[in-house]
């Protein structure tokens, strides 16, 4: 299996962008995260959809007590306003630490091992400083299905 076949090329998330822009890019490209560059063009981490949702919408105590929450919650009422506020907010406060990256020559089995190791569903692919794109668990699954079809 070649890693290039499952690579999804994307742009970077850059300092000054809003959450809306990152969400738009991710949803259109079908990726869960983008690598982040600061104003000097240095790689400083990544922005993930789940990270933004977790830090922007969900306090820790709600996650801890998820099982006991009722169907009536005060925050549901002004949810649309909060979503708009979140979309308008700058991405800087949602940057996560740099994630382990792989190269385009990395065997997929190694990529899968790294995904498992870091409990992640995606990995960024860099050849030196050049960004190639994202690979995802869904992409690997899709490639597996393609191989299965080819055999038949």
């Amino acid at each position: 299996m070649k890693l290039k076949k499952i690579l999804i090329p994307t742009v970077f998330a850059r300092e000054g962008m809003k959450v809306r822009e990152v969400f738009t890019i991710c949803v259109e490209a079908g990726v869960p995260a983008l690598p982040y560059l600061n104003s000097k063009g240095e790689r400083r981490g990544f922005i993930s959809l789940s990270g933004v949702m977790q830090h922007g919408c969900l306090p820790n105590y709600m996650v801890e007590l998820a099982m006991v929450l009722g169907d009536q919650l005060s925050c549901v009422k002004d949810a649309k306003t909060k979503v708009r506020e979140l979309m308008e907010s700058p991405i800087e406060s949602y940057v996560d630490k740099p994630l382990h990256s792989i190269t385009s020559k990395t065997p997929i089995i190694k990529a899968m091992a790294i995904l498992e190791k870091f409990h992640s569903s995606f990995l960024f692919v860099f050849d030196g400083e050049e960004y190639r794109g994202v690979i995802t668990a869904q992409g690997i699954a899709q490639r597996m299905l393609e191989i299965d079809t080819e055999k038949k």
């Binding site: 007590l65 099982m67 009722g70």
Partner: protein, 451 residues
């Protein structure tokens, strides 16, 4: 000067032939000073200090081991393992939410109930675990009620330190005192617990005057709380039954420890081992290893290793006779009067514990008080001093945000949730309330033990 005992220092091979008193004293003071700065983790500092006490020749390894208090270390570790497993069942969150619903989700009622639950849990579990379980529930409830969480969190901090003072296992100072004297679980219950409800009630009365009478929530907000399903917090009924069985057995073991001729550490470690056995008995060896590893990983090793280092340090200064000198100085100041000495210990330990970690203070005071026995006619007459130390050290933790680990944990969690608790505003309210609790403790100690 009132001589405590005649000290005969053991022969020591101190490095470069230096004076053991100076070496031990300097190491002790330096270590405590670095611990107080909180710039390096306290476990690292205490361990380094303890090891230097051995490497400098003040103690050899054998003597250092004699300084270790297995009862304190075993009791702490055993209870930490039991609580780590029990909390996975969700029983503590169940009780917290159930109690909030029992008062119809009225804000003042919830504050009262959560404070009460915090105090009771703190008497039976360690304070840090208690607040870690109660604070998320509090933040969720106050969010739904649309009320500020500060009064709730503030009262829970105070309740955890007050409740912790009630029992042998409630707070590390009590564990250390109970192990050193030795007092039983029942001794703590009979001698300390009676005053705890009074202190808690007075504290809650002040909280009511400041915040409680103005608390209000809409019917709709209260309805949101009433829709919480506390039963869903119980994730594993089998684990719940096993945990409650072991927890009940362990507490019964503490109560009947004297008749059983068992030390608290043995009971707690046996309970931990039994609960590990019950929860692992039908699993594969790989799954057992994972579960046991996860349970042991939840032990607060920082606290355990802090104690390990501290016991060596204190044993070092004790061996060179420094603590006897300190005891003499205290007795000089109080004129060798039991009442003066008890009340001095109560107040000094309260003020000290409000500003710095109470564990090193108590570790130092234990041998100091022990060495006062000849002056007061024997160890059996020292009880008022021990109860003064326990109440002062535990209640003193309420004096400031840095007075106890639980206070810092609450502040950290609240800050993460966007409700920071600031040092000065907290202290302006908490310090006078801590002084009020010490005044009550003074009256109690005086009339119960000294008249």
């Amino acid at each position: 000067m009132i001589p405590v005992t005649e000290h005969t220092a053991p022969v020591m091979n101190v490095i470069f032939g230096w004076d053991p008193v100076w070496v031990a004293g300097t190491l002790f003071v330096l270590t405590y000073a670095v611990i107080m700065t909180e710039r390096v983790n306290r476990a690292i500092v205490a361990l380094l200090g303890g090891m230097l006490m051995i490497m400098s020749g003040v103690l050899n390894q054998e003597a250092a081991l004699r300084g270790e208090d297995f009862n304190t270390l075993g009791l702490l570790t055993g209870m930490m393992v039991i609580v780590a497993i029990t909390k996975r069942s969700g029983v503590f969150q169940f009780v917290a939410i159930w109690s909030a619903k029992k008062v119809g989700a009225q804000p003042w009622g919830i504050l009262l109930m959560l404070s009460l639950v915090t105090a009771i849990f703190s008497a039976l579990l360690d304070n840090v675990t208690t607040v870690l379980l109660i604070v998320p529930v509090t933040l969720l409830i106050t969010q739904e009620l649309k009320v500020t969480p500060f009064p709730f969190l503030f009262t829970e901090i105070l309740s955890s330190n007050i409740g912790g003072a009630a029992t042998l296992i409630g707070d590390p100072p009590n564990i250390m005192i109970g192990s050193a004297v030795p007092f039983s679980f029942n001794d703590f219950l009979f001698n300390l617990a009676p005053i705890i409800p009074v202190i808690l009630l007075m504290t809650l009365a002040v909280v009511w005057v400041i915040w409680g009478r103005k608390m209000h929530a809409s019917d709709e907000a209260r309805q949101n709380i009433m829709s919480f399903n506390e039963r869903n917090s119980i994730t594993d009924v089998r684990l719940l039954k096993q945990s409650l069985f072991v927890l009940t057995a362990v507490i019964s073991g503490f109560i009947f420890a004297h008749q059983l001729h068992l030390e608290p550490a043995t009971i707690a470690l046996f309970g931990a081992a039994l609960l590990l056995l019950l929860t692992n008995i039908k699993r594969s060896s790989e799954s057992q290893a994972k579960d046991v590893h996860a349970s042991f990983a939840e032990v607060e090793w920082i606290t355990i290793f802090f104690f390990v280092g501290l016991f060596i340090l204190v044993h070092g200064v004790e061996q060179v006779g420094l603590l006897e000198r300190l005891a003499n100085a205290v007795l000089d100041f109080t004129g060798g009067d039991l009442t003066n000495t008890a009340l001095m210990i109560l107040w000094i330990s309260a003020i000290f514990s409000a500003l710095v970690d109470n564990i090193p203070f108590v570790a130092t005071m234990i041998p100091v008080i022990k060495s006062m026995a000849p002056v007061f006619g024997g160890a059996e007459n020292l009880a008022p001093l021990w109860w003064s130390l326990a109440l002062g050290a535990c209640l003193g933790g309420n004096g400031s945000l840095i007075g106890a680990s639980a206070n810092l944990i609450v502040a950290g969690y609240a800050e993460q949730a966007g409700h920071p608790i600031r040092f000065v505003p907290f202290m302006l309210l908490a310090f006078p309330m801590m002084l009020m609790s010490i005044v009550i403790a003074t009256i109690y100690i005086y009339f119960r033990f000294l008249v």
